[in-house]
Amino acid sequence: MSYSKYSILENHDGSCELSTQNSKVIVGISGPLEPKQRHRLPLQSAIEVIIKPSSGLGPTTREVLMQDKLATVLQAVIVTELYPRKLIQVNAQILESPFDEFGSMNGNTFNEITSSMIDLNSCFNSSFISLCDASIALKSSFVSSLLAITEENSSKLINLANVSDLDTLRSYNFKSLHLVVLEIEENKPTNILLLDSKGDFNDDDLVKVLDAAQQNTSAEFKNIRSLFKEKLSQDFIWKK
């Protein structure tokens, strides 16, 4: 389960710090802003996503790939035609990543992939709460889940957001990794907004992953709903 705090950056329109068992991300959203000329679209708003890594300098190729994935989902969810010629800026700073330690990749090529997928998963969930906090018009809700299938134990399914121990995380021998972003309408997961898979897998694996993702999404969304209930009572605290 993830833990999130909203409205923590005073000068942003919306912000959220989200921590899962093994990662921590802070997202700030500003918008609708006056864009630069090159961002100005005549009939809809532009969405700019910037992800900063937990160590080292600004968006590298690893983060740019994450930015593009985040932007495609946000483009589908934000009601862009409500803010023509405006800019919605999404800034994400990764605070903690399980592979931060020097040399923690341990020569396993899968670790490199895992690390960016863990970060992206947190960025997705955090940016949804931030968008709601910033009162940007959304078509629907979305929740992201990161699931892995291991090679041993006859393909066990693991929710990576719940693995707290770095050593355990390293010890897994992943067969495939799946990042699933599901759209939620009327309290039910209805649509796949993004499905990003790495590794070897077959149809049955994918069906299993989607089933697990739906369950995880419903559980996380219940969490988010109670978070918003609290947020709303804080927003209108002077009313009672």
């Binding site: 006056e34 910033a134 009162s135 018009a137 959304l138 709303l232 209108f236």
Partner: protein, 254 residues
């Protein structure tokens, strides 16, 4: 028949609205509810909520109005709103103003001042605060402000918020719902009257773009009013009187 009024449902984008569930016609849709062009054409006018808020149905002149109450920080101009604008630039026909930092600029034409003539132009400088009203909002143009009641041509309290001699002023940024409540619901939320009852003398101008301008006779009083207003934004209604009491004794000792 009618949608249960004051149904206090928490709505998150993607949820179904009570009016949709009960197949109730809504005549006017307000903030937070959106009818997309696509739904208008193909989806039987399906409405969807776009923000996190509480759905609210009211009936006025036999028309059902649906709104979603939510709080936010960034103001988007709406026709008829009272706002505090900051002058940022001036041209031969109009001032350029901002309502929010980094938001698109809005215009305040010289013709929208009382007794406007070609020769008679108001002398505002960059950085000045002006209390005005949003006259028109067009999707393809910057919003236009006015500094008078355009029906009567009267000044009606609009104009420059200037610091008079021996006065101390400050501007407080607050959330939009709080500013609206202070401006329009003085009976239900008597914070300002309560402050006056405590012998605080002050002048305020509230813009629904989340700005409150305060002017009092002394610096301590300005600080006191500023503190009360910002503390009350984050506390329960029951504790308002106590906050006023405490802050007044802290800053303006009798």
């Amino acid at each position: 028949m009618s949608v249960s009024e004051d149904s206090k449902n928490l709505i998150i984008p993607g949820d179904i609205l009570a009016c949709e569930r009960d197949n109730q016609t809504v005549d006017i849709i307000g903030q937070g509810i959106y009818l997309s062009f696509e739904n208008h054409l193909y989806n039987n006018n399906k409405l969807y909520p776009t923000h996190v808020g509480i759905e609210n149905y009211t009936t006025k002149n036999n028309k059902v109005i649906a709104t979603l109450d939510y709080n936010s920080k960034r103001y988007i101009p709406q026709q008829g709103d009272y706002v505090i604008a900051t002058v940022t630039n001036n041209y031969s026909t109009h001032f350029l103003c901002t309502l929010n930092n980094f938001s698109s600029t809005v215009t305040l034409p010289y013709a929208n001042f009382p007794q406007a003539t070609k020769k008679n132009r108001p002398k505002y400088e960059n950085g000045d605060l002006v209390y005005c009203r949003v006259k028109t909002v067009d999707t393809d143009l910057p919003a236009e402000l006015e500094c008078m009641d355009s029906e009567t041509g009267n000044k009606d309290g609009f104009g420059l918020l200037e610091q008079e001699k021996s006065k101390h002023t400050a501007v407080l940024d607050c959330s939009l719902a709080y500013a609206r409540e202070l401006l329009f619901n003085d009976k239900g939320f008597p914070l300002l009257s309560d402050m006056v009852k405590k012998n605080l003398s002050f002048e305020v101008a509230i813009g629904v773009n989340g700005k409150i301008w305060i002017s009092t006779a002394s610096l301590l009083e300005t600080l006191c009013v500023y503190k009360i207003l910002s503390k009350c934004e984050k506390s329960n209604r029951d504790s308002i009187l106590q906050i006023i009491e405490e802050t007044v004794t802290e800053y303006v000792k009798e």
